[in-house]
């Protein structure tokens, strides 16, 4: 069943990509369209931006959770991480549409406070997509890093401070190097997930947004262009496999597995 459901679909993907109408020239045709090239570039760039924001923000949150002593702060952090999981994936996007829309919450507030004269164009923009993706993946970035940070002995900070280092320096020179493998594993997993987003680019970016997911959706359901859609899919797949392989060689299988399991 695994072979049938995991391996065969990708063989079909390659077949459709390189099959009719033109075999290998399909790829050339895909890339001869500058719009397609642009779209793939934007997808990878934005996935990278989202991953970076999430890993930095998630790292800070994970460390705050690791070092928080007050129960109240721990509770606030933990519930902020877990409550978004209760919302379905489409509902999260719905919430962002309600926040960012022309008559949405943010625009209403800005208008009522007289900070702007007319509603801002927030929805159906690339930042809207990035914000939505960051929101959905932030908890997924915090958890594996929290697990990774938990194995770091906080006495090391005290030791570094005792030897004259400032808190910032102790964190940067002692804790950060120890946390690097965990952070890197999180980076890899998040990047792959970010590449695979479908609903968010389509709904928050609008139908013409420059994302591979939207391109695939248009190709399949508007133009019935299987080959084009498959090549788009292959691009994402290649990116995903490349980053997982990179992660595998840099931090090892065990760390990646732990990052997934968290």
């Amino acid at each position: 069943m695994l072979i049938f459901y995991v391996i065969y679909p990708f063989i079909r993907l390659v077949q459709t990509a390189l099959g009719d109408p033109g075999g290998w020239s399909n790829v050339g045709f895909f890339f001869s369209n500058t719009a397609n090239v642009f779209v793939v570039q934007i997808t990878f760039r934005d996935a990278a931006i989202v991953t970076l924001i999430d890993v930095v923000a998630g790292g800070v949150m994970a460390w705050a959770l690791r070092s928080a002593r007050s129960r109240l702060i721990r509770f606030a952090l933990l519930s902020a991480i877990f409550v978004p999981f209760w919302m379905g994936s489409v509902v999260k996007i719905y919430a962002f549409t309600a926040l960012l829309g022309r008559a949405g919450v943010i625009n209403t507030l800005l208008l009522n406070l007289h900070l702007t004269k007319e509603p801002l164009h927030l929805l159906y923009t690339q930042p809207a997509v990035v914000a939505g993706m960051v929101y959905q993946m932030l908890p997924l970035a915090v958890l594996p890093m929290y697990v990774a940070f938990s194995s770091i002995d906080t006495d090391l900070i005290i030791a570094a401070e005792g030897l004259g280092a400032s808190r910032a320096r102790a964190l940067l020179d002692v804790v950060l190097p120890l946390a690097v493998p965990g952070i890197f594993a999180t980076l890899v997993i998040n990047f792959v997930l970010a590449l695979g987003f479908y609903l968010t680019p389509v709904l928050l970016g609008g139908l013409t947004s420059p994302f591979t997911a939207t391109l695939i959706q248009q190709d399949l359901f508007a133009y019935s262009d299987f080959a084009d859609a498959s090549i788009g899919g292959l691009m994402l797949l290649a990116g995903g496999i490349a980053s997982v392989t990179l992660g595998y060689f840099l931090v090892g299988k065990e760390r990646l597995r732990r990052a997934i399991s968290a």
């Binding site: 409550v83 695979g196 987003f197 797949l237």
Partner: protein
Amino acid sequence: MSTAQVAISTALRWITFGFVVLLVLFLFVPVVIVVMLSFSNATVLQFPPDQLGLRQYVAFAQSPYWTSSVVKSLTIAFPTALVATLVGMPAVFAFNRTRLPFREGLELAGLAPFLLPGVAYAVALYAMYAQFHIVGTTVGLILADSVIALPYVVVIVGAGIKRVTPDLELVAMSLGASRARALIGITFRLTLPAILAAFVLAFLAAFDEATFVNFVGGPDLVTLPKAIFDSLRLGVDPLITGIATILMALTGITMMLAVWLRRT
């Protein structure tokens, strides 16, 4: 440390603290907005709601389109969770208790749906389903969702079984139990909470699944996430806030149940 360093250090700490507070707010705001709007009586989205009431809940309950989508989701999610658990559980047992060849590779394949970009996988499945003409069939969607739910089972049952030492089985066998009896009587029983937790999470994952249904579900299989997706492409219907709030409460309770199961 000099006073300047102490001042910088304190400032940094407050900046970090402020940053974390902002992040917590960022994570909470969408949840709060949805719940707040669900108790507004308006037929268009408006904030702040000027008339409170249960209109969104009533409108949802009275709409056959929405209620039937919930039923559809349930008829997909239950079999999906069942298939994922029934496939995943023996697989995990095999990974951990036998010398099955290629088990590392197989385990990786079980996690693959997590490790591959979702859209790419969805297009690939679509290409395969189109070849076999099973786009839009319930069974097809259940099988596709099962593959997506499988990693939850592999990860959770895998973690559960690693807490049960194989020595217990050896003890049982040295006392005369057969291999099968030792496996079922000891290991299966002790991993049962993890298996149930995996079932619950697989169910939630299948209930929430909205990407694959767009590809392999065809136009006629309308699950709840698909219904919300379709409605979102036309605009923001405040009715959704009602069902979203109910879902959030139910998901929250179910997830806590799963967490509790894993602890016992």
